[in-house]
Protein backbone atom coordinates (compact mmCIF):
# COMPACT_ATOMS: atom_id res chain seq x y z
CA UNK A 1 0.00 0.00 0.00
CA UNK A 2 1.50 3.26 -1.13
CA UNK A 3 1.28 5.83 1.66
CA UNK A 4 0.60 8.61 -0.81
CA UNK A 5 -2.52 6.92 -2.25
CA UNK A 6 -5.79 8.20 -0.81
CA UNK A 7 -7.58 5.89 1.63
CA UNK A 8 -10.94 7.42 0.78
CA UNK A 9 -11.88 9.04 -2.48
CA UNK A 10 -15.21 10.70 -3.24
CA UNK A 11 -15.84 11.51 -6.87
CA UNK A 12 -18.71 13.62 -8.16
CA UNK A 13 -20.98 12.62 -5.29
CA UNK A 14 -24.51 13.85 -5.76
CA UNK A 15 -27.46 13.24 -3.47
CA UNK A 16 -31.02 14.32 -3.84
CA UNK A 17 -34.05 13.58 -1.74
CA UNK A 18 -36.98 13.76 -4.12
CA UNK A 19 -36.61 17.09 -5.92
CA UNK A 20 -34.29 18.50 -3.25
CA UNK A 21 -30.59 18.48 -4.01
CA UNK A 22 -28.62 18.01 -0.78
CA UNK A 23 -25.17 17.43 -2.25
CA UNK A 24 -23.92 18.55 -5.66
CA UNK A 25 -20.78 17.20 -7.35
CA UNK A 26 -18.77 16.69 -4.20
CA UNK A 27 -15.24 15.38 -4.53
CA UNK A 28 -12.68 14.85 -1.79
CA UNK A 29 -9.68 12.69 -1.01
CA UNK A 30 -8.52 11.66 2.44
CA UNK A 31 -5.05 10.19 2.93
CA UNK A 32 -3.91 7.79 5.66
CA UNK A 33 -2.59 9.57 8.75
CA UNK A 34 -4.29 12.79 7.73
CA UNK A 35 -6.99 14.81 9.47
CA UNK A 36 -9.35 16.57 7.09
CA UNK A 37 -11.88 19.00 8.52
CA UNK A 38 -15.25 19.44 6.91
CA UNK A 39 -16.73 22.84 7.65
CA UNK A 40 -19.83 24.67 6.55
CA UNK A 41 -22.83 26.53 7.85
CA UNK A 42 -25.93 24.81 9.22
CA UNK A 43 -27.73 23.02 6.41
CA UNK A 44 -24.67 23.01 4.15
CA UNK A 45 -24.94 19.24 3.80
CA UNK A 46 -22.34 18.03 6.28
CA UNK A 47 -24.65 15.53 7.98
CA UNK A 48 -25.78 14.18 4.63
CA UNK A 49 -22.15 13.65 3.67
CA UNK A 50 -21.48 11.80 6.92
CA UNK A 51 -24.40 9.52 6.15
CA UNK A 52 -23.16 8.89 2.64
CA UNK A 53 -19.60 8.12 3.72
CA UNK A 54 -20.71 5.90 6.62
CA UNK A 55 -22.99 3.97 4.29
CA UNK A 56 -26.32 4.99 5.85
CA UNK A 57 -27.52 6.70 2.65
CA UNK A 58 -26.20 5.60 -0.73
CA UNK A 59 -25.39 8.57 -2.99
CA UNK A 60 -27.72 9.26 -5.94
CA UNK A 61 -24.71 9.26 -8.24
CA UNK A 62 -20.93 9.43 -8.05
CA UNK A 63 -18.30 7.04 -6.80
CA UNK A 64 -16.88 6.16 -3.37
CA UNK A 65 -13.47 4.52 -3.52
CA UNK A 66 -11.71 2.94 -0.54
CA UNK A 67 -8.03 2.18 -1.07
CA UNK A 68 -8.55 2.32 -4.80
CA UNK A 69 -11.53 -0.02 -4.85
CA UNK A 70 -14.97 1.36 -5.69
CA UNK A 71 -17.55 0.38 -3.05
CA UNK A 72 -21.32 0.54 -2.83
CA UNK A 73 -22.95 0.71 0.57
CA UNK A 74 -26.59 0.88 1.58
CA UNK A 75 -26.41 0.67 5.39
CA UNK A 76 -24.07 1.36 8.29
CA UNK A 77 -23.17 -2.31 8.69
CA UNK A 78 -21.67 -2.28 5.20
CA UNK A 79 -19.75 0.88 6.04
CA UNK A 80 -18.31 -0.81 9.11
CA UNK A 81 -17.41 -3.86 7.05
CA UNK A 82 -15.31 -1.54 4.87
CA UNK A 83 -13.44 -0.27 7.94
CA UNK A 84 -15.33 3.02 8.36
CA UNK A 85 -16.42 4.02 11.89
CA UNK A 86 -18.41 7.04 13.02
CA UNK A 87 -18.26 8.91 16.33
CA UNK A 88 -21.61 10.67 16.70
CA UNK A 89 -22.05 13.97 18.50
CA UNK A 90 -24.82 12.55 20.69
CA UNK A 91 -22.73 9.61 21.88
CA UNK A 92 -24.24 6.37 20.65
CA UNK A 93 -23.41 4.54 23.89
CA UNK A 94 -25.56 2.29 26.07
CA UNK A 95 -25.46 4.17 29.38
CA UNK A 96 -26.13 1.40 31.83
CA UNK A 97 -23.67 -1.06 30.35
CA UNK A 98 -19.97 -1.26 31.10
CA UNK A 99 -17.23 0.39 29.07
CA UNK A 100 -16.05 -2.95 27.70
CA UNK A 101 -19.56 -4.03 26.61
CA UNK A 102 -19.91 -0.73 24.76
CA UNK A 103 -16.54 -1.18 23.08
CA UNK A 104 -17.79 -4.44 21.59
CA UNK A 105 -21.49 -3.59 21.22
CA UNK A 106 -22.93 -5.66 18.38
CA UNK A 107 -19.57 -7.37 17.78
CA UNK A 108 -18.99 -9.25 21.02
CA UNK A 109 -16.28 -11.93 20.80
CA UNK A 110 -17.31 -15.44 21.88
CA UNK A 111 -15.30 -18.17 23.58
CA UNK A 112 -15.26 -21.78 22.43
CA UNK A 113 -18.53 -22.49 24.26
CA UNK A 114 -20.28 -19.79 22.24
CA UNK A 115 -20.56 -17.54 25.30
CA UNK A 116 -19.36 -13.95 25.72
CA UNK A 117 -15.59 -13.75 26.05
CA UNK A 118 -15.49 -11.13 28.81
CA UNK A 119 -11.81 -11.65 29.56
CA UNK A 120 -10.88 -10.75 26.01
CA UNK A 121 -13.21 -7.75 25.88
CA UNK A 122 -11.82 -6.40 29.16
CA UNK A 123 -8.18 -6.97 28.18
CA UNK A 124 -8.53 -5.34 24.78
CA UNK A 125 -10.48 -2.43 26.24
CA UNK A 126 -7.86 -1.78 28.91
CA UNK A 127 -5.07 -1.97 26.37
CA UNK A 128 -6.71 0.49 23.98
CA UNK A 129 -7.85 2.88 26.68
CA UNK A 130 -4.26 3.01 27.93
CA UNK A 131 -2.84 3.54 24.44
CA UNK A 132 -5.22 6.42 23.73
CA UNK A 133 -4.83 7.76 27.27
CA UNK A 134 -8.58 7.88 27.83
CA UNK A 135 -8.71 8.37 31.57
CA UNK A 136 -11.49 6.16 32.90
CA UNK A 137 -11.57 4.36 36.29
CA UNK A 138 -11.72 0.88 34.74
CA UNK A 139 -13.06 -1.15 31.84
CA UNK A 140 -15.78 -2.31 34.26
CA UNK A 141 -17.05 1.23 34.85
CA UNK A 142 -20.64 1.92 33.87
CA UNK A 143 -20.94 4.56 31.13
CA UNK A 144 -23.39 6.75 33.05
CA UNK A 145 -20.87 7.10 35.89
CA UNK A 146 -18.40 8.74 33.48
CA UNK A 147 -18.06 12.41 32.57
CA UNK A 148 -18.97 13.68 29.10
CA UNK A 149 -15.32 13.79 28.06
CA UNK A 150 -14.69 10.26 29.28
CA UNK A 151 -17.74 9.05 27.39
CA UNK A 152 -16.60 10.67 24.17
CA UNK A 153 -13.19 9.14 24.84
CA UNK A 154 -14.84 5.71 25.01
CA UNK A 155 -16.77 6.39 21.79
CA UNK A 156 -13.54 7.41 20.02
CA UNK A 157 -11.72 4.39 21.43
CA UNK A 158 -14.47 2.16 20.08
CA UNK A 159 -14.25 3.72 16.63
CA UNK A 160 -10.47 3.43 16.71
CA UNK A 161 -10.63 -0.22 17.67
CA UNK A 162 -12.78 -1.11 14.68
CA UNK A 163 -11.81 1.42 12.01
CA UNK A 164 -9.18 0.00 9.69
CA UNK A 165 -9.57 2.77 7.09
CA UNK A 166 -11.47 5.85 8.18
CA UNK A 167 -12.82 7.49 11.32
CA UNK A 168 -15.61 10.03 10.92
CA UNK A 169 -15.98 12.41 13.84
CA UNK A 170 -19.31 14.26 13.75
CA UNK A 171 -19.01 17.26 16.09
CA UNK A 172 -17.13 15.21 18.68
CA UNK A 173 -16.84 18.01 21.24
CA UNK A 174 -20.16 19.82 20.71
CA UNK A 175 -21.51 18.66 24.07
CA UNK A 176 -18.30 19.04 26.10
CA UNK A 177 -16.78 21.62 28.43
CA UNK A 178 -13.46 23.37 27.85
CA UNK A 179 -11.15 20.96 29.67
CA UNK A 180 -12.92 17.93 28.27
CA UNK A 181 -12.73 19.34 24.75
CA UNK A 182 -8.97 19.71 25.14
CA UNK A 183 -8.71 16.06 26.29
CA UNK A 184 -10.70 14.82 23.31
CA UNK A 185 -8.65 16.98 20.92
CA UNK A 186 -5.46 15.39 22.26
CA UNK A 187 -6.93 11.95 21.68
CA UNK A 188 -7.99 12.85 18.13
CA UNK A 189 -4.50 14.15 17.38
CA UNK A 190 -2.97 10.89 18.59
CA UNK A 191 -5.09 8.95 16.10
CA UNK A 192 -2.95 10.25 13.22
CA UNK A 193 -0.16 7.82 13.97
CA UNK A 194 -2.56 4.92 13.45
CA UNK A 195 -2.43 5.52 9.72
CA UNK A 196 -6.14 5.75 9.17
CA UNK A 197 -7.90 8.65 7.50
CA UNK A 198 -9.74 11.03 9.82
CA UNK A 199 -12.58 13.26 8.75
CA UNK A 200 -13.78 15.66 11.40
CA UNK A 201 -16.84 17.86 11.29
CA UNK A 202 -16.72 20.82 13.60
CA UNK A 203 -18.31 24.18 14.15
CA UNK A 204 -15.30 25.45 16.03
CA UNK A 205 -12.74 27.01 13.69
CA UNK A 206 -10.22 27.12 16.55
CA UNK A 207 -10.52 23.36 16.77
CA UNK A 208 -10.33 22.93 13.02
CA UNK A 209 -7.13 24.95 12.82
CA UNK A 210 -5.65 23.13 15.81
CA UNK A 211 -6.33 19.63 14.53
CA UNK A 212 -6.59 19.46 10.77
CA UNK A 213 -4.11 19.14 7.92
CA UNK A 214 -6.57 20.28 5.31
CA UNK A 215 -9.92 22.05 5.44
CA UNK A 216 -12.78 21.35 3.06
CA UNK A 217 -15.54 23.95 2.88
CA UNK A 218 -19.09 23.02 2.02
CA UNK A 219 -21.77 25.53 1.17
CA UNK A 220 -25.31 24.73 0.07
CA UNK A 221 -24.33 21.20 -0.86
CA UNK A 222 -21.37 22.30 -2.98
CA UNK A 223 -17.71 21.94 -2.28
CA UNK A 224 -16.36 25.50 -2.24
CA UNK A 225 -12.73 24.53 -1.94
CA UNK A 226 -10.05 22.64 -0.04
CA UNK A 227 -7.21 24.51 1.67
CA UNK A 228 -4.09 23.32 3.42
CA UNK A 229 -4.52 24.44 7.01
CA UNK A 230 -1.01 25.91 7.20
CA UNK A 231 -1.54 28.02 4.10
CA UNK A 232 -4.85 29.61 4.99
CA UNK A 233 -6.38 31.59 7.82
CA UNK A 234 -9.71 31.97 9.56
CA UNK A 235 -10.76 34.96 7.52
CA UNK A 236 -10.44 33.07 4.27
CA UNK A 237 -12.33 30.05 5.62
CA UNK A 238 -15.09 32.23 7.07
CA UNK A 239 -15.41 34.03 3.78
CA UNK A 240 -15.72 30.69 2.00
CA UNK A 241 -18.31 29.39 4.49
CA UNK A 242 -20.48 32.50 4.24
CA UNK A 243 -20.08 32.87 0.51
CA UNK A 244 -18.34 36.25 0.55
CA UNK A 245 -15.64 34.73 -1.57
CA UNK A 246 -16.18 32.27 -4.36
CA UNK A 247 -13.38 30.02 -5.44
Amino acid sequence: MNASAPILQLQDIRKHFGGLTAIENFSLEVFPGEIVALVGDNGAGKSTLVKIISGVHPPSSGMITIEGKPVTMSNATMGRAHGIEVVYQDLALADQQTVYMNMFLGREPLNRFGLLDRRRMIDETEKLVKELDVRIPSAHATIRDLSGGQRQGVAIARATHWASKLILLDEPTAALGVAETARVETIVQSLKQRNVGILIISHSLDQVFKLSDRICVLRRGKQIGVRETKKTDKNEIIAMITGLQQQ
Partner: protein, 323 residues
Amino acid sequence: MTSANTGTEMGSFASRFNLQQYVVYLGFLAIFLFFAFMLRDSGFLTVRNLSNIVLQTAPVTIMAIGLVFVMSAGEIDLSIGSIVAVSALAAAVTIASYGMAAGIVAGLGAGILIGLINGALVAYVRLPSFLVTLATMGLFAGVSRSMTDLRSISVTNEAFTGFFGSGSLLGVPSLIWWTVIAIAIGHLVYRETRFGAHVLATGDNARAASVSGISVPKIRLAVLTISGGLAGLAGLLYAGRLQAAKYTLGETDLMTVIAAVIVGGTLLNGGKGSIVGALVGSLMMGMLNNGLILMGLSVSDQMIVRGLIILTAVAVSLRDKSR
Protein backbone atom coordinates in the same frame (compact mmCIF):
# COMPACT_ATOMS: atom_id res chain seq x y z
CA MET B 1 -9.20 -8.72 38.53
CA THR B 2 -5.43 -8.61 38.46
CA SER B 3 -3.52 -7.46 41.49
CA ALA B 4 -2.17 -4.52 39.51
CA ASN B 5 -5.50 -2.73 39.39
CA THR B 6 -6.92 -3.79 42.74
CA GLY B 7 -7.14 -0.13 43.65
CA THR B 8 -9.49 0.75 40.82
CA GLU B 9 -11.41 -2.49 41.31
CA MET B 10 -12.04 -1.58 44.92
CA GLY B 11 -13.01 1.92 43.93
CA SER B 12 -15.48 0.84 41.31
CA PHE B 13 -16.85 -1.80 43.66
CA ALA B 14 -17.53 0.84 46.27
CA SER B 15 -19.22 3.09 43.72
CA ARG B 16 -21.24 0.20 42.38
CA PHE B 17 -22.45 -0.85 45.81
CA ASN B 18 -25.86 0.54 46.41
CA LEU B 19 -28.84 -0.56 48.44
CA GLN B 20 -31.05 -1.24 45.43
CA GLN B 21 -29.00 -4.21 44.28
CA TYR B 22 -29.43 -5.94 47.60
CA VAL B 23 -32.89 -4.75 48.56
CA VAL B 24 -34.44 -7.99 47.35
CA TYR B 25 -32.17 -10.12 49.52
CA LEU B 26 -32.63 -7.87 52.55
CA GLY B 27 -36.40 -7.80 52.01
CA PHE B 28 -36.49 -11.55 51.62
CA LEU B 29 -34.57 -11.99 54.85
CA ALA B 30 -36.68 -9.46 56.74
CA ILE B 31 -39.97 -11.05 55.69
CA PHE B 32 -38.63 -14.53 56.41
CA LEU B 33 -37.48 -13.57 59.91
CA PHE B 34 -40.74 -11.75 60.60
CA PHE B 35 -42.86 -14.79 59.72
CA ALA B 36 -40.46 -17.22 61.39
CA PHE B 37 -40.94 -15.29 64.61
CA MET B 38 -44.65 -14.44 64.35
CA LEU B 39 -45.70 -17.86 63.08
CA ARG B 40 -43.31 -20.02 65.09
CA ASP B 41 -46.25 -22.06 66.38
CA SER B 42 -48.23 -22.14 63.14
CA GLY B 43 -45.96 -24.38 61.08
CA PHE B 44 -44.34 -21.70 58.89
CA LEU B 45 -40.85 -23.06 59.44
CA THR B 46 -41.64 -26.70 58.66
CA VAL B 47 -39.87 -28.26 55.70
CA ARG B 48 -43.25 -29.14 54.28
CA ASN B 49 -44.49 -25.56 54.36
CA LEU B 50 -41.28 -24.05 53.01
CA SER B 51 -41.08 -26.51 50.14
CA ASN B 52 -44.76 -25.83 49.46
CA ILE B 53 -43.90 -22.16 49.00
CA VAL B 54 -41.29 -23.04 46.37
CA LEU B 55 -43.69 -25.42 44.59
CA GLN B 56 -46.51 -22.86 44.50
CA THR B 57 -44.15 -20.18 43.26
CA ALA B 58 -42.80 -22.18 40.31
CA PRO B 59 -45.19 -20.80 37.64
CA VAL B 60 -44.65 -17.21 38.81
CA THR B 61 -40.87 -17.72 38.73
CA ILE B 62 -41.04 -19.10 35.19
CA MET B 63 -43.11 -16.11 34.03
CA ALA B 64 -40.75 -13.74 35.85
CA ILE B 65 -37.81 -15.03 33.78
CA GLY B 66 -39.64 -14.08 30.59
CA LEU B 67 -40.55 -10.67 31.98
CA VAL B 68 -36.92 -9.93 32.91
CA PHE B 69 -36.04 -10.32 29.22
CA VAL B 70 -39.02 -8.21 28.12
CA MET B 71 -38.41 -5.41 30.60
CA SER B 72 -34.66 -5.41 29.99
CA ALA B 73 -35.41 -4.73 26.33
CA GLY B 74 -37.54 -1.76 27.40
CA GLU B 75 -40.89 -3.44 26.75
CA ILE B 76 -43.66 -4.85 28.94
CA ASP B 77 -45.87 -7.93 28.67
CA LEU B 78 -49.24 -7.62 30.40
CA SER B 79 -50.72 -10.63 28.62
CA ILE B 80 -48.84 -13.36 30.52
CA GLY B 81 -51.72 -14.08 32.92
CA SER B 82 -54.14 -14.62 30.04
CA ILE B 83 -51.59 -16.78 28.18
CA VAL B 84 -51.38 -19.07 31.24
CA ALA B 85 -55.10 -19.84 31.07
CA VAL B 86 -55.21 -20.29 27.28
CA SER B 87 -52.16 -22.59 27.34
CA ALA B 88 -53.40 -24.68 30.27
CA LEU B 89 -56.82 -25.11 28.63
CA ALA B 90 -55.32 -25.88 25.22
CA ALA B 91 -53.11 -28.51 26.84
CA ALA B 92 -55.91 -30.02 28.91
CA VAL B 93 -58.32 -30.30 25.99
CA THR B 94 -55.65 -31.75 23.69
CA ILE B 95 -54.37 -34.27 26.24
CA ALA B 96 -57.89 -35.69 26.68
CA SER B 97 -58.07 -36.69 23.00
CA TYR B 98 -54.49 -36.93 21.72
CA GLY B 99 -52.27 -37.65 24.71
CA MET B 100 -49.45 -35.97 26.57
CA ALA B 101 -47.04 -35.02 23.76
CA ALA B 102 -49.76 -33.32 21.74
CA GLY B 103 -50.92 -31.56 24.89
CA ILE B 104 -47.47 -30.14 25.55
CA VAL B 105 -47.17 -28.95 21.96
CA ALA B 106 -50.62 -27.34 22.14
CA GLY B 107 -49.93 -25.62 25.46
CA LEU B 108 -46.46 -24.32 24.62
CA GLY B 109 -47.51 -23.59 21.04
CA ALA B 110 -50.40 -21.41 22.20
CA GLY B 111 -48.06 -19.39 24.42
CA ILE B 112 -45.40 -18.99 21.74
CA LEU B 113 -48.02 -18.04 19.14
CA ILE B 114 -49.54 -15.33 21.33
CA GLY B 115 -46.03 -14.11 22.15
CA LEU B 116 -45.24 -13.95 18.42
CA ILE B 117 -48.40 -11.93 17.79
CA ASN B 118 -47.45 -9.50 20.57
CA GLY B 119 -43.88 -9.33 19.30
CA ALA B 120 -44.75 -8.81 15.65
CA LEU B 121 -47.13 -5.96 16.51
CA VAL B 122 -44.50 -4.30 18.68
CA ALA B 123 -41.47 -4.91 16.46
CA TYR B 124 -42.86 -4.47 12.97
CA VAL B 125 -46.12 -2.53 13.30
CA ARG B 126 -44.30 -0.42 15.92
CA LEU B 127 -47.12 -0.24 18.42
CA PRO B 128 -46.21 0.28 22.10
CA SER B 129 -45.97 -3.05 23.94
CA PHE B 130 -48.03 -1.65 26.81
CA LEU B 131 -51.04 -1.16 24.53
CA VAL B 132 -50.52 -4.32 22.47
CA THR B 133 -50.29 -6.62 25.48
CA LEU B 134 -53.07 -4.77 27.32
CA ALA B 135 -55.28 -5.58 24.34
CA THR B 136 -54.13 -9.20 24.00
CA MET B 137 -54.53 -9.63 27.77
CA GLY B 138 -58.22 -8.82 27.42
CA LEU B 139 -58.58 -10.64 24.12
CA PHE B 140 -57.17 -13.93 25.38
CA ALA B 141 -58.94 -13.68 28.73
CA GLY B 142 -62.06 -13.76 26.57
CA VAL B 143 -60.73 -16.63 24.46
CA SER B 144 -59.98 -18.75 27.54
CA ARG B 145 -63.51 -18.14 28.83
CA SER B 146 -65.16 -19.06 25.55
CA MET B 147 -62.92 -22.08 24.89
CA THR B 148 -64.68 -24.24 27.45
CA ASP B 149 -67.71 -22.21 28.39
CA LEU B 150 -66.18 -21.31 31.76
CA ARG B 151 -65.93 -25.01 32.64
CA SER B 152 -62.97 -26.59 34.34
CA ILE B 153 -61.23 -29.35 32.35
CA SER B 154 -59.64 -32.09 34.41
CA VAL B 155 -56.27 -33.57 33.45
CA THR B 156 -56.10 -37.28 34.23
CA ASN B 157 -52.98 -38.20 32.25
CA GLU B 158 -50.64 -39.28 35.06
CA ALA B 159 -47.49 -39.01 33.00
CA PHE B 160 -48.37 -35.35 32.37
CA THR B 161 -49.36 -34.47 35.93
CA GLY B 162 -46.24 -36.21 37.20
CA PHE B 163 -43.92 -34.49 34.73
CA PHE B 164 -45.31 -30.99 35.26
CA GLY B 165 -46.76 -31.16 38.76
CA SER B 166 -46.82 -33.79 41.44
CA GLY B 167 -43.97 -36.08 40.35
CA SER B 168 -40.39 -36.11 41.53
CA LEU B 169 -36.97 -37.17 40.31
CA LEU B 170 -34.16 -38.25 42.64
CA GLY B 171 -36.38 -37.24 45.54
CA VAL B 172 -36.74 -33.68 44.27
CA PRO B 173 -40.24 -32.55 43.21
CA SER B 174 -40.56 -31.86 39.48
CA LEU B 175 -41.68 -28.26 40.07
CA ILE B 176 -38.37 -27.58 41.78
CA TRP B 177 -36.53 -29.13 38.83
CA TRP B 178 -38.44 -26.88 36.47
CA THR B 179 -37.58 -23.83 38.56
CA VAL B 180 -33.89 -24.66 38.86
CA ILE B 181 -33.44 -25.55 35.19
CA ALA B 182 -35.36 -22.51 33.94
CA ILE B 183 -33.42 -20.15 36.20
CA ALA B 184 -30.07 -21.69 35.19
CA ILE B 185 -30.79 -21.47 31.46
CA GLY B 186 -32.38 -18.04 31.81
CA HIS B 187 -29.41 -16.69 33.76
CA LEU B 188 -26.90 -18.14 31.28
CA VAL B 189 -28.69 -16.70 28.25
CA TYR B 190 -29.24 -13.35 29.95
CA ARG B 191 -25.72 -12.86 31.26
CA GLU B 192 -23.40 -14.82 29.03
CA THR B 193 -24.69 -14.74 25.47
CA ARG B 194 -24.69 -12.20 22.68
CA PHE B 195 -28.47 -12.31 22.68
CA GLY B 196 -28.59 -11.29 26.34
CA ALA B 197 -26.16 -8.43 25.71
CA HIS B 198 -28.22 -7.24 22.75
CA VAL B 199 -31.43 -7.35 24.79
CA LEU B 200 -29.82 -5.08 27.40
CA ALA B 201 -28.38 -2.73 24.77
CA THR B 202 -31.77 -2.46 23.06
CA GLY B 203 -33.51 -1.52 26.29
CA ASP B 204 -30.72 0.83 27.28
CA ASN B 205 -30.39 2.82 24.05
CA ALA B 206 -32.22 1.44 21.03
CA ARG B 207 -30.49 3.88 18.67
CA ALA B 208 -27.02 2.97 19.89
CA ALA B 209 -27.93 -0.69 19.52
CA SER B 210 -29.19 -0.07 16.03
CA VAL B 211 -26.14 1.87 14.79
CA SER B 212 -24.00 -0.90 16.30
CA GLY B 213 -25.59 -3.37 13.91
CA ILE B 214 -28.04 -4.97 16.35
CA SER B 215 -31.43 -5.74 14.82
CA VAL B 216 -33.68 -4.01 17.33
CA PRO B 217 -36.97 -5.33 15.85
CA LYS B 218 -35.70 -8.92 16.04
CA ILE B 219 -34.78 -8.45 19.71
CA ARG B 220 -38.24 -7.05 20.47
CA LEU B 221 -39.91 -9.93 18.65
CA ALA B 222 -37.70 -12.46 20.46
CA VAL B 223 -38.26 -11.21 24.02
CA LEU B 224 -42.04 -11.13 23.67
CA THR B 225 -42.03 -14.59 22.09
CA ILE B 226 -39.88 -15.95 24.93
CA SER B 227 -42.23 -14.37 27.44
CA GLY B 228 -45.25 -15.95 25.73
CA GLY B 229 -43.56 -19.35 25.61
CA LEU B 230 -42.61 -19.23 29.29
CA ALA B 231 -46.13 -18.15 30.25
CA GLY B 232 -47.30 -21.19 28.26
CA LEU B 233 -44.94 -23.38 30.29
CA ALA B 234 -46.34 -21.82 33.47
CA GLY B 235 -49.80 -22.84 32.24
CA LEU B 236 -48.61 -26.45 31.85
CA LEU B 237 -47.19 -26.38 35.39
CA TYR B 238 -50.51 -25.14 36.78
CA ALA B 239 -52.43 -27.78 34.86
CA GLY B 240 -50.03 -30.46 36.06
CA ARG B 241 -50.08 -29.47 39.71
CA LEU B 242 -53.83 -28.84 39.97
CA GLN B 243 -54.69 -31.73 37.58
CA ALA B 244 -57.15 -29.39 35.93
CA ALA B 245 -57.29 -26.26 33.81
CA LYS B 246 -59.66 -23.36 34.16
CA TYR B 247 -59.96 -19.86 32.79
CA THR B 248 -59.10 -18.42 36.22
CA LEU B 249 -55.53 -19.81 36.13
CA GLY B 250 -52.97 -17.03 36.13
CA GLU B 251 -55.67 -14.40 36.51
CA THR B 252 -54.03 -12.71 39.50
CA ASP B 253 -50.42 -13.49 38.65
CA LEU B 254 -49.56 -10.41 36.58
CA MET B 255 -49.12 -8.07 39.55
CA THR B 256 -47.12 -10.69 41.45
CA VAL B 257 -44.78 -11.31 38.49
CA ILE B 258 -44.19 -7.61 37.82
CA ALA B 259 -43.53 -7.01 41.53
CA ALA B 260 -41.12 -9.97 41.72
CA VAL B 261 -39.18 -8.73 38.70
CA ILE B 262 -38.93 -5.09 39.82
CA VAL B 263 -38.09 -5.95 43.42
CA GLY B 264 -35.49 -8.32 41.98
CA GLY B 265 -33.56 -5.41 40.49
CA THR B 266 -34.82 -5.19 36.90
CA LEU B 267 -35.42 -1.68 35.62
CA LEU B 268 -38.90 -0.93 34.29
CA ASN B 269 -37.33 1.14 31.48
CA GLY B 270 -34.84 -1.47 30.39
CA GLY B 271 -31.08 -1.82 30.19
CA LYS B 272 -30.56 -3.56 33.49
CA GLY B 273 -31.92 -6.60 35.27
CA SER B 274 -31.33 -9.86 37.07
CA ILE B 275 -32.72 -13.37 36.62
CA VAL B 276 -31.54 -14.54 40.05
CA GLY B 277 -33.00 -11.38 41.58
CA ALA B 278 -36.34 -12.22 39.96
CA LEU B 279 -36.21 -15.71 41.51
CA VAL B 280 -35.64 -14.27 44.98
CA GLY B 281 -38.35 -11.67 44.33
CA SER B 282 -40.73 -14.39 43.30
CA LEU B 283 -39.94 -16.51 46.38
CA MET B 284 -40.46 -13.40 48.49
CA MET B 285 -43.94 -12.91 47.02
CA GLY B 286 -44.75 -16.59 47.61
CA MET B 287 -43.58 -16.40 51.19
CA LEU B 288 -45.66 -13.30 51.75
CA ASN B 289 -48.73 -15.05 50.42
CA ASN B 290 -48.15 -18.10 52.54
CA GLY B 291 -47.36 -16.19 55.74
CA LEU B 292 -50.39 -13.93 55.48
CA ILE B 293 -52.67 -16.95 55.06
CA LEU B 294 -51.08 -18.68 58.05
CA MET B 295 -51.55 -15.51 60.09
CA GLY B 296 -55.25 -15.94 59.50
CA LEU B 297 -55.88 -12.76 57.54
CA SER B 298 -59.06 -12.64 55.49
CA VAL B 299 -58.69 -12.66 51.72
CA SER B 300 -59.44 -8.94 51.50
CA ASP B 301 -56.95 -8.11 54.26
CA GLN B 302 -54.33 -10.27 52.52
CA MET B 303 -54.80 -8.29 49.31
CA ILE B 304 -54.44 -4.99 51.14
CA VAL B 305 -51.33 -6.01 53.07
CA ARG B 306 -49.75 -7.59 50.00
CA GLY B 307 -50.42 -4.48 47.96
CA LEU B 308 -48.87 -2.26 50.61
CA ILE B 309 -45.77 -4.43 50.96
CA ILE B 310 -45.27 -4.60 47.19
CA LEU B 311 -45.68 -0.83 46.99
CA THR B 312 -43.02 -0.35 49.68
CA ALA B 313 -40.62 -2.81 48.09
CA VAL B 314 -41.03 -1.34 44.62
CA ALA B 315 -40.66 2.20 45.94
CA VAL B 316 -37.42 1.32 47.73
CA SER B 317 -35.95 -0.47 44.72
CA LEU B 318 -36.91 2.29 42.27
CA ARG B 319 -35.89 5.27 44.39
CA ASP B 320 -32.28 4.28 44.51
CA LYS B 321 -32.14 3.50 40.80
CA SER B 322 -33.29 6.93 39.66
CA ARG B 323 -30.27 8.44 41.31
